[in-house]
Symmetry: C2
DNA sequence: GAGTGGTCTAGACCACGAA
DNA sequence: TCGTGGTCTAGACCACTCG
């Protein structure tokens, strides 16, 4: 990893590359949970970068909940995986989400079709518009039972989207971004509890009317236009949505 | 706010002071929603600080959702108040309405008592420790039906907490912070679907075994020690948890 | 082409924790 | 006392947007 980096013009920033490297090393238990990462100074030397770059990289890991820092002590490994078990986002769409997340979507059906009145309302669209509708089951890595029944609606202008197969291991919006150059700028998310209907309960193999977590995401571009809406329905005991917030003091009046 | 600030041993970092200043100015509509903040360079001059300090300050506003940034363009004001996303203002509440986080907690009972084995497990504590246990109903402003059945466990060291009455309009942790000088540094949140048990369904006035949203929050201090745990159980049709994420950088490989 | 924010360097001083 | 992470400076180059 030469300090006289040859990687001019490489599109990914160095601090993301470094975060990526550290991420892999933590996952591989090179730095076990509870241990300290090398100091910032050491990482600067090891990777031939400035402290700024090292700090930006570590910040990413901190945001993922994998590392905590303590002045005078060091950076301590807290977990070998990002804290959210299944969900691809928290506190910003900020990621490391370039790393495969541990779920995949098995597509059951996909077709371009006019939407009915009720669906249109949920999409803020007009009845009769033809959207790409995808239905599928979402699996956590290595699990045989699906953790969600998923329905996705893709906006008319992207409805010719081509999928790489019947198993998707990346979020769907990444395909839209790749194929159309669109960009997701914001995600709005609603979560509520529902009673499972026939379609979902059958697809998931749980009793009719058992409780489920209903999770809807709207993916919007810079202009606030809807690119895609995904609805995930999770049976109660196969999924927990986890989030972590850290406090920022903004209005503070210490002196 | 003197630009030639002498800033001696002032304990708060300059970027927080600056963020605070900008925050107040945005609130006062000196920079209206939709307008651009001064450029980083201009802010450097105006406040006599380096670009690093200005950028750290703006990052805080971005994290609060009040400002978005676009390379080549500038920093645009999006809102005059922090948008959800952080502790306590965190969830959007009651169907569809994005704002209105005004809820109050009606205390049904509170007592200091030893916790049982199962509760202890959920708290990461030991059976028999005496915690302050509070049970109540949470109401959205102006609603007569409760939106949640709430149970709160306060750590032993704060169990002498005094409450201002039977109706709490501020989050409970604020009382802990005020009376003990503790500080909440992180909140971990879990959400899942459950089937309502007898206690909750009766308290909420909904059928036994109807679906509910189970929302648990752990309030932790800087050392990761649990100050308080709150469990809110929401009937399916009285509550939607809403969140909005904005993308902070792209992983994209535009070229 | 001028100006923006994004990335990055090479320094510096500080408060605080550990030995 | 020494080393840590937290803060901060004064530069720099880049890709991008916009006129």
């Amino acid at each position: 990893m030469s300090s006289t980096s040859p990687m001019r013009g490489s599109s990914t920033p160095r601090y993301i590359q470094l975060a990526s490297t550290l991420y892999e090393e933590i996952r591989a238990s090179r730095y076990p949970v509870g241990s300290l990462l090398p100091t910032e100074h050491e990482l600067c030397e090891q990777f031939g970068v400035s402290r700024f770059t090292v700090r930006e990289a570590i910040k990413m890991l901190v945001r993922q909940g994998m590392v905590t820092r303590q002045p005078g002590v060091g950076s301590r490994v807290q977990a070998t995986v990002p804290v959210s078990q299944y969900v691809q986002t928290m506190s910003g769409i900020s990621d490391l989400s370039q790393y495969a997340f541990d779920t995949s979507l098995e597509v059951i059906s996909h077709r371009v079709q006019p939407i009915d009145a009720q669906t249109a309302k949920g999409l803020g669209a007009s009845e009769g518009e033809t959207w790409l509708c995808i239905e599928g089951l979402r699996y956590a890595q290595g699990q045989s039972l699906p953790m969600a029944h998923t329905t996705v609606f893709v906006a008319p202008r992207f409805r010719s989207l081509s999928l790489p197969g019947t198993t998707l291991s990346e979020p769907l919006y990444t395909y839209i971004e790749q194929q159309y150059g669109a960009r997701v700028a914001r995600v709005d998310q609603d979560i509520r509890a529902v009673s499972l209907g026939r379609a979902s309960s059958q697809a998931l193999g749980v009793p009719l009317r058992s409780p489920g977590l209903w999770l809807k995401r709207d993916y919007l571009d810079e202009r606030g236009e809807l690119l895609e809406q995904a609805i995930n329905i999770h049976p109660s005991n196969r999924f927990t949505y986890h989030e972590s917030f850290t406090r920022d003091y903004l209005v503070g009046d210490k002196r």
